[in-house]
């Protein structure tokens, strides 16, 4: 917005604060595009940005009678819009919803996303149970399942593996019940 438009907005806002209804359309014409642009930069193009800009505009007009003529009208209007955008962002975060346009980005690439989700949940649960075991048990299980163990220590190792597995089972039961 250039210097001339800024001055024009300040003057129109002062008239509006004084009760001059004819300044409504001037203030609206200058502010509307600015507020929409600001809200779209903050929230992305979409209905949320439109709603935030509309809410901000209504607040600006509602509080016009209290407008401090020493302040820049644009800075004041943008401060109100920023507040509205922040409120919209908080509301969005609270309801944990995203606009449908972004749904493609979170689409699963596997054929059976439910199965994949269950497997990853099981892995998380297994990791939690493993974390409850001692370091030596963890090492034993790692060796048992990821390395070939053979030779004179094999029977003793098998015993250690059995004990570690039984402790893992009881840890699993303690956390997950079955």
């Amino acid at each position: 917005m250039d210097e001339h438009a800024l001055r024009e907005l300040d003057a129109a806002m002062v008239r509006l604060a004084d009760g001059d209804r004819s300044a409504c359309s001037s203030v609206f014409a200058i502010l509307w595009t600015e507020l929409i642009g600001f809200a779209e930069r903050a929230l992305g193009r979409g209905p949320d940005a439109d709603d935030a800009a509309q809410q901000a505009l209504e607040k600006i007009f509602d509080q016009a009678a209290d407008y401090d003529r020493e302040r820049s009208a644009l800075a004041w209007a943008l401060a109100i819009t920023a507040w509205e955008c922040r409120t919209t962002l908080q509301r969005r975060r609270r309801r944990r919803e995203d606009p449908l346009e972004h749904a493609g980005a979170v689409r699963s690439s596997t054929l059976d996303p439910e199965e994949t989700a269950m497997q990853s949940a099981m892995l998380v649960a297994l990791r939690a149970s493993l974390a409850g075991l001692s370091t030596s048990d963890q090492k034993t299980l790692e060796e048992a399942f990821f390395r070939e163990t053979d030779g004179p220590h094999a029977p003793a190792f098998r015993k250690r593996k059995e004990r570690a597995l039984s402790r893992l089972r009881s840890a699993w039961r303690k956390i997950h019940g079955a």
Binding site: G19, P47, D50, A53, E58, A64, A65
Partner: protein, 181 residues
Amino acid sequence: MALDPKMALTRAMRAYELGRARHAATFALPLAALSVVAACLGTRPATACVVGLALLATAWFLLWRGQTLGRAVFPGILAGLVPLALAVGARAYGHVCTGSQCVSLCIPACTVGGVLAGFLIARAGKHAASRGRFLFGASALAVLVGSLGCSCVGYGGVAGLGVGLLVTLLPASLTPRRAAG
């Protein structure tokens, strides 16, 4: 769906009117204290109530409309306090007895108060952009505030106040406006 600017402007203007109405109410409501004070100082409670309500409504309307009418509120109330104070003083003083008869000072006090109030309003509205509106708004409030005290002898006191105001305001409204500064 993109917002319709016409709809947005309509909603904004509705918000503006509501905001102004609330703002006007915030400033007008404390005026209720004047009628309470007047009632405590001897004005009939019913009169104080009716005039107080009229005062609130007028002040609210002028503040809501804003511009020249809004700017007339403070000088109008201030000017109205003069006849109110004089009427309350006259009531406290009582009657002046001159041998055969006793006369209440209320009407003369209200007339003098009206003249002084008119003088104050005329001075305040010297540079008003729309002088007619300013004088009308301010004198309406001055009459209402003054009436809280000038109703001491019924309509006579209020009439005295009105005459006093007219005496000063009529010539002031006819003289050409001086430029500000």
